[in-house]
Amino acid sequence: MTEEETHKTAENTEPSKAERKNKVGPDGLTKRDRLKIKRHPMPEQAPEERTTNFRSVVFGYTPEMAYEEAQRCLDCPRPKCIEGCPAEVDIPAFIREILKGDLEESYRILKADNALPAVCGRVCPQEAQCELTCLLAKKGPVAIGRLEQFVAEYMLDKYEKEPPKVEKIIPTKEKVAVIGAGPAGITAATDLVKMGYEVTIFEALHKPGGVLNYGIPPFRMPRRILNAELASIEQMGVDVRCNMVFGKTVTYEELLEDGYKAFFLGTGAGLPTFMGIPGENANGVYSANEYLTRVNLMEAWDFPNADTPVFVGKNVVTTGAGNTAMDSARVSKRMPGVEKSYIVYRRTRNEAPARNEEIEHAEQEGVIFKYLTQPIEILRDEKNWITGMRCIQMELGEPDDSGRRRPVPIPDSEFEIECDTLLVAIGQRPNPIAMRSIPGLEISRWGTIVVDEETMMTTVPGVFAGGDATVGSSTVIMAVGHGKKAARAVDAYLAKQREKSEK
């Protein structure tokens, strides 16, 4: 058969609507059968149990659950789920392999588009992405995130017992420096290594992972799994160098001299924001970053077995209602001695930027939500310890620039909350050290690195950026998407440079 004929035949055999309905998949089920299967709930620790430990809240699907959930996928001819995924993972393909029983291939498909499937399976807001665009969204979308988590963790477990033969990719192209071993940097680095570049990641902290390690608590992202996923990056051939503060330990100029031809800044949003109210430097007041870094990265949850301490009193207040705030309040519920963990937020649940699932988990765990409440002063004793917080009641007024109704104070509604620990989780901004060390790099008035949205290139040729460093605080998967986009752009840029020098 000629190519043309094949094409024609393919057209002719395009299944009719009726045929599609009765299309039999690798598991012998038809579309009608699939529609009868209900979405599998995620098995998880009971709320009263899980607030006593730092172990994973969710248990993950069993192989049987995963198989049945995979059966729900209709394997649409034009899958919308992929469009909903910033990393453009071939979702129907990895699910199909679950049905075929080939988890190794399923994992390979996941890894082809995303270096961090175990992480993304757990922390992505799937309900706003792939599962939102799933054809079954209304009646209960295919649990794509849970399936991704299942496949990735199953394979990481398997590889732990019998390490796979990973062939290190021998670099044939230029040296590229990636700054920051968070989700954006890791993604850019792995994609570039696959393209044949010699990639080094410079990480300021003593461990890779960025926010995955310092920000996300172990009960959401177990460290055994995270470490296994991070180790797989190095096995691929990415050189990860920790304890390297770009701009301090090594500079842009030095790396240029050292032969690095392109840079990707994935330096994250690690600069904590404070409220700017009186008393904020009291003892017992932490930025969420400090609190989470102590507990998660430094393992203060296991003090004194780990050396770094964290003070947490009986009544802990977290201000803010993003994912970082939920993490802070939920960590607090798990710390010994804590009686009450509050979230204080000046708007309502509807405006809260956190994922619904995170808010639900916090609610289940007994976090007390005080909405429409604005802190105005931190009260202290003579030894500078926080004793409470003065707040004012708010109500929602007209919509502001963000489209959300602006909270306005209700006159004479001040009241006090008694607390001995306060966690400020009202947002993070990009950490300026790295970006200040590159001459000519344009920074926005929000402190983010200005990039061309198409190429992720900054105002300095050859320097690319992505993730939270370019948008403020966002999601892991957005960072993954930026990393991918930037890797393609770095490749195109260096190809052009090569062409120029050949001329």
């Binding site: 300021a204 902290l205 003593h206 310092y214 920790c242 304890n243 390297m244 503060v245 301090k248 330990t249 090594v250 690690g270 600069l271 904590p272 404070f274 904020e280 430097n281 003892n283 017992g284 932490y286 930025s287 970053n289 400090e290 870094t293 102590r294 430094m298 393992e299 296991d302 003090f303 004194p304 077995n305 780990a306 050396d307 770094t308 301490p309 003070f311 030894k383 500078n384 950490n431 300026p432 050290i433």
Partner: protein
């Protein structure tokens, strides 16, 4: 002979009962370290991040000198490492360097371990053409460290001890005030216990002598990520790790800093007690 490896301790000397000097292989840091900057180290894989001022650095040998006092679990554990041993992590150089200019008479006021931190600053000030007068103080003679080194980079040196066991009996601010009154103080920089730095600031405030304090608040990451080290300077919150560690001493809220430094003392005590139970041989010096 085998080549020393990164993070290796190539020299160790006990300067006093609880003060130790080590030289560590860290070529990238040694290449860039400037007076006033610090590193953060960890002793083991679950260890604390410990900020230590770079007391000296050598570009040729690729080593940095760190001087520390055994006060808590982490520093006691660090004190157990011997020559040939390795630090788990070393990162730096962090913080802004001390502004070195020709001021005229530059006074260094150092207390206790602060002397180690002031050594590279004294040397740099002298190289910049200043007349360097160093005042070092300690409670007792045996707690003074690096006096000889300080002498070698100072034009004048004044020693004070609380008990009079060496030099002048009393505190560092007495000779400092005399220098200020004599008009022999154009620039003052101080490092040591926070309470001492507070009195140094008071001693020079009225005469308006530019005075800097090298602060040592509690830190975690040391790169501006956490804000543990925040201090009030001129009514504004600053991060000592990335905005400092040197600040205009006349604007620093030392009272707040002292209280913030005590935030974890119960934990530090507990941690140390547990450690000393496991290391009874060090118990006599654990206070």
């Amino acid at each position: 002979m085998t080549e020393p490896k990164p993070n290796e301790i190539v020299f160790k000397k006990r300067l006093s009962e609880n003060t130790v000097r080590i030289e560590v292989v860290a070529p990238l840091i040694a290449k860039k370290a400037q007076p006033g900057q610090f590193v953060i180290i960890r002793v083991h894989s679950r260890g604390e991040r410990i900020p230590l001022t770079i007391a000296d650095s050598n570009k040729e040998t690729g080593t940095i000198t760190l001087i520390f006092q055994e006060v808590g679990k982490s520093t006691f554990a660090l004190g157990l490492l011997e020559q040939g041993g390795f630090l788990h992590d070393v990162v730096g150089p962090l913080g802004h360097p001390t502004p070195i200019e020709k001021y005229g008479n530059a006074i260094i006021v150092a207390g206790g371990l602060g002397t180690a931190e002031m050594y590279p600053i004294a040397r740099a000030l002298r190289e910049a053409g200043n007349h360097v007068i160093t005042i070092v103080g300690a409670r007792r003679k045996d707690l003074l460290v690096m006096v000889e080194e300080m002498e070698s980079v100072s034009d004048e040196i004044i020693i004070t001890t609380d008990d009079g066991s060496l030099g002048r009996k009393g505190v560092v601010t007495v000779p400092l005030k005399e220098l200020v009154e004599d008009g022999r103080a154009d620039f003052v920089i101080t490092c040591g216990p926070t309470i001492m730095m507070k009195f140094v600031a008071e001693a020079t405030r009225e005469a308006g002598v530019p005075t800097f304090a090298s602060l040592n608040p509690i830190m975690v990451d040391g790169t501006g990520m956490c804000g543990a080290c925040r201090v009030s300077v001129g009514g504004k919150t600053r991060f000592a790790c990335v905005d400092g560690p040197d600040f205009n001493a006349h604007e620093v809220d030392f009272e707040e800093l002292m209280m913030r430094q005590k935030a974890f003392c119960d934990f530090e005590r507990k941690s140390l007690d547990l450690w000393l139970e496991e290391h009874p041989e060090r118990a006599h010096s654990g206070g």
